[in-house]
């Protein structure tokens, strides 16, 4: 078989057939060349073969609108043949094309012999995501295997001297709530665990056991910091031990590694993380634990967990973290008089990798502490240490604008409505996407109620609010090419501006209009479906598109982080596989459609 043909094998739908199918392909496919502007299939024309792009690009148009773009290894024409319909689109060569051509007959034969091959042509975006997920799962399980023993996973060592009376030592164990005790001997360490205590209880009298070194297991097995977590797991399993001290290079004990923690690391690090945050009694400990969140995200992603569920989990852990920080940083007397809010993507529970700090405080009316700035600065610094960069738009509680009394915010809302300029509309969107993370929920509820009321009473504000949805163009709608960015971001598209924003903002505006309180975009879309504003099919498509966009974005961001690059919202088209590309195209189309629904609903075209 020629290499050119073999090259198709990794790409769906050809990954779904066996060698026998390839022999059929070898005996039926031809390679064709078409110069620019060739019409391969006309709109309304009959398609008699399937095209597989080897090099070049083809765009499909419905009337004058670009519907799809096909690059290397992309396939088209199959759906038309299978549906036995004239083509709804015109396929035009936009970049000199070299392609494989498979005639209708052998194509149908393949479809008959390989149902999964046939199904590919009907598969929805969700199924395509499944295929990609499987691929990713397969790809890099190795990440998690390469995790090393770090201090953050260790438990504080509880060390006692060898001559301490047993009962006294047990009391220390009890007080500190630890599962094991390290015994410092004249030479080296010993360990006391549950098993040793059983031995003590059974043999205390008979063997005259007095001091802790009488019952210790000695010498102890230990590992150095930096060992692979996976080898630690093997080592502990092999020696049937559940607790093991970890030493630094100078043989000092750093802490104790617990088998249960390793197990949970390999199954799901979230458990470990959240316990650590719960246990934390200082800001530093919270910082330590929270800094490890990113590792968890990577491992979950490589395991193929849907970005939406990762976001949920991250959200749970972040909620815990913010609560803990709220308790640790703000004076007790304040806590009953304020609400700590998250804004933006974090409030929508859609943030996965940390982007920037978006937070605010509502104070009860009449309570405006003078030293607020001082505490807010500590809060800001702590978040920065954890890895939340400064918010470029300065939407942070260190900014007096986002640290106001309830009536202060109400004034602001009035002003925004009276003067709907861009800056104010952004602020409004930011505040509308907010959520209480700690403190008084009722303050926030009053504020959002006020927002619903005052926007409902103002004739045009909601339309102005919706307007920005028209300011970003879909990467497929306007530009004839997939790739839109130039310069530094050549061959990349800004997935946030061209797709994500359309869906998020559309859902936000409709939520404001319809009194929907939930801030999460998925939930907003579902709610809009329940209210009958969106039909089932549209809302399903939008949700799927959102999943696709977030999955692609997360993938790109993780890759950038791995390479030490700046994390942004650009997704590279160049090295994207066919599946990802298909998924992205479908998602972009859906986002554009949703934008049109919103534009039409608010009659934005008639708004200056």
């Amino acid at each position: 078989m020629t290499e050119l043909l073999k090259n198709l094998h990794p790409h769906p739908p050809f990954s779904l057939v066996d060698e026998k199918a390839f022999i059929l392909l070898e005996h039926s496919m031809q390679i064709a060349y078409y110069p620019d502007d060739t019409i391969l299939i006309d709109q309304g024309g009959v398609c008699d073969r399937v095209y597989i792009v080897i090099k070049g690009a083809v765009e499909s148009f419905r009337d004058e609108e670009v519907v799809n773009i096909y690059h290397e290894n992309d396939i088209f024409g199959g759906e038309e043949i299978l549906k036995e319909q004239p083509s709804k689109e015109r396929y035009l060569v936009t970049q000199e094309l070299i392609c494989y051509e498979l005639e209708k007959e052998p194509f149908l034969q393949l479809c008959e012999n390989y149902p999964s091959f046939k199904e590919y042509f009907f598969s929805s975006i969700i199924q395509k995501i499944e295929l990609i997920k499987q691929k990713k799962e397969f790809a890099s399980m190795s990440d998690i295997m390469l995790a090393r023993v770090e201090r953050s996973i260790l438990h504080k060592p509880c060390v006692v001297t060898h001559d301490m009376p047993i009962k006294e030592a047990l009391q220390i164990m009890q007080d500190q709530g630890v599962n094991s005790l390290l015994v410092k001997n004249i030479k080296g360490y010993g360990i006391v665990t549950d098993a040793d205590l059983r031995y003590f209880i059974l043999n205390e009298e008979r063997k005259n056991l007095k001091v802790i070194s009488d019952i210790q297991s000695y010498p102890i097995l230990s590992l150095r910091e930096g060992a692979y977590l996976f080898s630690a797991l093997l080592f502990m399993t092999k020696n049937s031990i559940k607790h093991m001290p970890i030493l630094d290079d100078e043989e000092n004990i750093l802490g104790s590694l617990e088998l249960i923690d390793i197990m949970s690391f390999f199954s799901n690090q979230s458990y470990l993380l959240s316990t650590q945050i719960d246990k934390a009694s200082s800001i530093e400990e919270v910082v330590d634990a929270a800094s490890r969140l990113d590792i968890m995200i990577s491992s979950l992603y490589t395991k193929g967990v849907k970005s939406r569920y990762i976001a949920k989990l991250v959200n749970e852990i972040n909620t815990k973290m913010y609560n803990k920080l709220f308790m640790l940083i703000f004076p007790e007397s304040w806590r009953s008089k304020m609400a700590l809010l998250l804004l933006g993507s974090e409030a929508r529970a859609e943030q996965i990798l940390r982007t920037d700090q978006d937070n605010a405080i509502i104070f009860e009316d009449g309570f405006e502490p003078k030293d607020a700035e001082e505490y807010c600065d500590i809060f800001y610094d702590t978040l920065e240490k954890i890895g939340y960069p400064r918010c470029a738009g300065n939407v942070m509680l260190t900014n007096p604008k986002w640290r106001q009394s309830l009536s202060g915010y109400k004034h602001a809302i009035n002003e925004w409505i009276d003067n709907p300029i861009q800056k104010n509309l952004i602020d409004m969107a930011t505040l509308f996407d907010s959520r209480v993370i700690a403190g008084r929920e009722d303050l926030h509820k009053i504020l959002i109620d006020y927002m619903f009321e005052s926007t409902a009473n103002s004739a045009n504000i909601i339309r102005y609010f919706a307007k920005p949805i028209e300011s970003f163009e879909s990467a497929l709608g306007l530009f004839s090419q997939f790739v839109t960015a130039t310069g530094e971001h050549k061959n990349e598209i800004d997935i946030k501006k061209t797709a994500l924003f359309l869906i998020v903002h559309g859902a936000r505006v409709l939520a404001l209009e319809n009194g929907i309180r939930t801030t999460n975009t998925y939930d907003r879309i579902k709610e809009l479906n329940n209210l009958g504003f969106l039909n089932r099919e549209d809302s399903r498509d939008i949700l799927q598109a959102l999943i696709a966009i977030n999955t692609l974005r997360l993938g790109a961001q993780l890759k950038k982080r791995e390479n030490g690059e700046h994390i942004d919202n650009y997704v590279s088209i160049e090295n994207m596989g066919k599946m990802d590309k298909d998924m992205l195209k479908d998602a972009l189309k859906t986002a554009e459609k949703f934008k049109q629904i919103v534009s039409y609903h608010f009659k934005l075209s008639s708004l200056g």
């Binding site: 020629t2 050119l4 005996h27 031809q30 390679i31 064709a32 090099k55 000199e96």
Partner: protein, 205 residues
């Protein structure tokens, strides 16, 4: 014309009537055969052909579905150096055929079509070396050299330039996919792509 003279001489010396169609003057328009051979070395006299890959090109299409891919039995073992290049080991030659059978198959395949190739002269000379004693003729077909086509289009852009005519360079400049394996059929297909593309463009940047 002298070439007509040689052509007639060639035709007269044909010993096997089955190959008379090679001299048919009614050459199909817009059809050609792109081919490539793998040999044990670059010495026309001493080295022998190991495999032949050929595809027909009809208008804008490479008929890869009816490609020719022949492996040829060797008198002696292939030496290590050439195995490294074309990756055909002695054990890969189990499906191989006699040189005579291979030449017959090849000649039937090409008929009177124009031959296209990359450094075609060498491949043609290798074929001639076998068919002259077997059938009394040399290849009478019209020949088109892809690297010359490339040169002509490229020179329009850089009139005084030194033009790199390496296979991979041409592929790259024509934006064609690069393949890793270099067997005769893969190379013939790549060359066919070059040919189609060169036929359709005016000049190359």
């Amino acid at each position: 014309m002298l070439s007509t003279f040689f052509r007639r001489q060639n035709e007269k010396s044909l010993k096997d009537e089955r190959f008379a169609p090679l001299f048919d003057k009614n050459v199909p328009k817009d059809e050609c055969v792109v081919f490539d051979t793998e040999t044990t070395g670059l010495d026309k006299r001493r080295d022998s052909i190991i495999s032949i890959g050929a595809v027909k090109v009809k208008q804008n299409k490479i008929l890869s579905n009816e490609a020719l891919n022949i492996l040829i039995k060797q008198d002696s073992l292939i030496n290590k150096e050439s195995i490294k290049i074309h990756m055909i080991r002695n054990c890969d030659l189990e499906a191989a055929v006699d040189i005579k059978e291979a030449m017959e198959e090849f000649l039937f395949f090409i008929g009177n079509r124009t031959l296209v190739g990359y450094y075609l002269e060498f491949d043609v000379a290798m074929i001639d070396k076998y068919i002259k004693p077997l059938f009394g003729i040399k290849l009478p077909n019209k020949q088109v050299e892809v690297s010359a086509m490339y040169y002509d289009k490229k020179i329009k852009f850089i009139p005084q330039g030194n033009i790199d005519l390496r296979f991979d360079t041409i592929l790259k400049n024509l934006c064609l996919p690069k393949l890793n394996s270099h067997d005769a059929l893969n190379d013939a297909i790549m060359t066919a792509m070059m040919y189609l593309k060169l036929k359709n463009i005016e000049k190359i940047k």
